[in-house]
């Protein structure tokens, strides 16, 4: 078990290396010198020369890459000229907001979409299947930024129920423990702030959830149908087991494997969705940070945000790998 996890962790290293090479390549290949890219447009010749030296741009390319990796490993991606602060510090501040939003959206999406997909699969070809199909196909077809705007139009513009941007009302704050405002508010004992935070979360989380429901319910439906075709389900019927019990004990665990696999493959799409949703709702996460960084050509910050999203993504995929081992005995190897 432990061995397997370490194997997976080690297996991620080549990918990480290639990813850093790609980011490094982007910096190198982009028009203009990396030093110019890494500095604001109004930088002086001296500053450029200084950066060039600091980044070792006069040295051979492999040495530059080595330095880049070294800096990365020391969590040093330079300083954002926009915020005049170290990039990793900025990202560290924003990361919890992104995680909190994604967490709520993913949980809601799974809670809604998995049962939806199951119901559709178990009633394959019936009217309820068609209804779920309509919901999910609309979900994957609607651009999340548009859905977000429609929700704002309706819930904040028309009903005035939920705020349309930000994470908390101006001036309200809670001492940070977990970084999740909702959790911190409860820890601080301020139920009022907790409710406030939920209100601010509502629309962005809902937008992101709607986007995911489509994907997850489709996957679930397909996986449950496939699992239902397997021969051991026949064995279970021949045992005299009730339909519900078969679904619970034999079908769902077997369907869980492909569901998790594909959620893993779709994580990228989910993260992409979260970037857009953050921008639409001015949610103070890495997505908006990246957006701002790009619009003012703050290259160190852009690089940092891209790198941190990528690392987050790889980490999530690792978690999924570990989850496999937990549910699938075949991956644990032979006892005999």
């Amino acid at each position: 078990m432990l061995h397997l996890i370490t194997t997976r962790l080690l297996g991620a290293i080549p990918v990480l290396l290639l990813v850093t090479m790609a980011i490094f390549g982007l910096l190198r290949l982009a028009p203009g010198d990396a030093a110019e890219l890494l500095l604001p447009d109004d930088a002086t010749e001296e500053q450029i020369a200084e950066t060039r030296e600091a980044w070792g741009l006069d040295r051979p390319i492999w040495a530059q890459y080595g330095q880049f990796i070294g800096n990365l490993a020391r969590f040093d991606l330079g300083e954002s000229y926009r915020y005049r602060a170290p990039v990793f510090e900025l990202i560290g501040e924003r990361l919890p907001a992104t995680l909190e939003l994604s967490f709520y959206a993913l949980v809601m999406a799974i809670v809604i979409a998995v049962p939806l997909g199951m119901i559709a699969a178990l009633n394959k070809g019936k009217i309820i299947d068609a209804i779920v199909s309509v919901i999910s196909i609309s979900g994957v077809s609607a651009p999340s930024f548009w859905v977000g705007i429609l929700l704002v139009l309706f819930f904040s513009g028309y009903l005035n129920l939920f705020p349309s941007s930000g994470r908390l009302p101006y001036g309200v704050s809670v001492p940070s423990v977990t970084g999740f405002v909702t959790f911190d508010a409860l820890i601080a004992g301020s139920f009022d702030t907790f409710l406030q935070a939920l209100k601010y979360l509502a629309l962005p989380a809902l937008t992101l959830t709607l986007a995911m429901i489509g994907i997850i319910s489709r996957i679930t439906r397909a996986a449950v149908i496939d699992a239902g075709q397997e021969e051991h389900v026949f064995t279970a019927v021949a045992k005299g087991m009730k339909r519900g019990t078969i679904v619970r004990r034999h079908l769902m665990p077997n369907a869980a494997i492909p569901i998790v696999t594909i959620i893993g493959l779709e994580l990228g799409a989910l993260i992409s969705g979260s970037i857009i949703v953050e921008v639409v709702f001015s949610w103070p996460g890495i997505g908006t940070l990246l957006f701002q960084a790009i619009s003012v050509r703050d290259m160190p910050l852009t690089t940092g945000a891209v790198a941190s999203y990528t690392i987050l993504f790889i980490a999530l995929n690792l978690l999924i790998d570990i989850f496999y081992v937990l549910i699938d005995p075949r991956l644990r190897g032979h006892k005999a």
Partner: protein, 276 residues
């Protein structure tokens, strides 16, 4: 009660896609206005007023004309992305599934690394570093969209290579080019078309997202994503600015997803066992 959803998918999908294609090709016949013609006198006109079927935006530009331009840009970009990435992906995937070995190992690591970037993010990064242009948008989207094709092709080529008719072809002297051309690629076509249909849907969404973030094609070209971004600030005063382009994206993507679903169901061998 049984419900025949399958053909409905095709009918609705084909109708919607046909409608969008018609707009893109012959839209100019419907509206006398051009996409970038400003008329500040006529700004923010609601739909069906002053001869503007879908109204005007804050600069008095005709929304329908801009929608038509958006449809062209979207379809053209998505089609190029789908075709380029399809050709690259199918060939790379088919080779790696058929040849296995070192080629496969290397391409798999490359695929994994490309996949280690959330898709939009890589596109964002490329456009941020390389600047905005039509070619860069296509490049930025293609660089990841070939992966689904390659995964599919690799998986199928691995099955095909061990099929007796492919092995028999090898025994009879069929080289790599022969086996690819006669046995592997023809058998991948159906799946490639299905992947392509879904891929076109995602490409349209991705292009719209990029334009929405201001990273798509240069702003002087009207796109659905760009229109939505501009319309956002007027959402409470003039809802049609943001709603209309969204409808455009939605029905185009929906039609492709419906058609993709339909194709996949057609192609899938009928699953007769339905135990549960």
């Amino acid at each position: 009660m049984k419900f025949d959803f399958l053909n409905l998918k095709f009918i609705i999908g084909a109708f919607l896609l046909g409608f969008v294609l018609f707009l893109a090709l012959f839209g100019n016949l419907i509206t006398p206005f051009t996409a970038n013609k400003q008329s500040l006198m006529d700004s923010l006109l609601p739909p069906l007023s002053g001869g503007h079927i879908l109204g005007t935006d804050h600069l008095g530009r005709d929304i329908l004309a801009r929608m038509i331009s958006g449809a062209r840009v979207s379809l053209a970009i998505a089609a190029s992305v789908v075709v380029i990435s399809g050709v690259v992906g199918v060939i790379v995937g088919a080779l790696s599934g058929y040849l296995r070995g070192t080629w496969d190992l290397v391409t798999q690591k490359i695929v994994e690394s490309f996949w280690a970037f959330p898709p939009i993010l890589l596109a964002i990064a490329i456009l941020a570093f390389f600047g905005q242009s039509l070619t860069n948008v296509i490049l930025a989207l293609t660089i990841q969209r070939w992966i689904p094709y390659s995964r599919m092709s690799r998986a199928q080529a691995m099955v095909l290579r061990s099929l007796a008719y492919v092995e028999s072809s090898r025994v009879m002297g069929g080289g790599l080019a022969w086996v690819m051309r006669r046995h592997i690629l023809p058998n991948l076509m159906a799946s490639a078309i299905i992947v392509g249909t879904f891929s076109m849907a995602t490409a349209i969404l991705a292009e719209a997202s990029l334009s929405f973030l201001g990273l798509g094609v240069p702003p002087q070209i009207a796109t659905w994503g760009g229109m939505l971004a501009e319309g956002r600030s007027y959402i409470t005063r003039a809802w049609w600015l943001a709603v209309m382009p969204g409808v455009g994206i939605f029905i185009t993507v929906l039609s492709l997803n419906l058609l993709g679903d339909w194709l996949r169901d057609q192609y899938d061998p009928k699953k007769t066992l339905n135990l549960i």
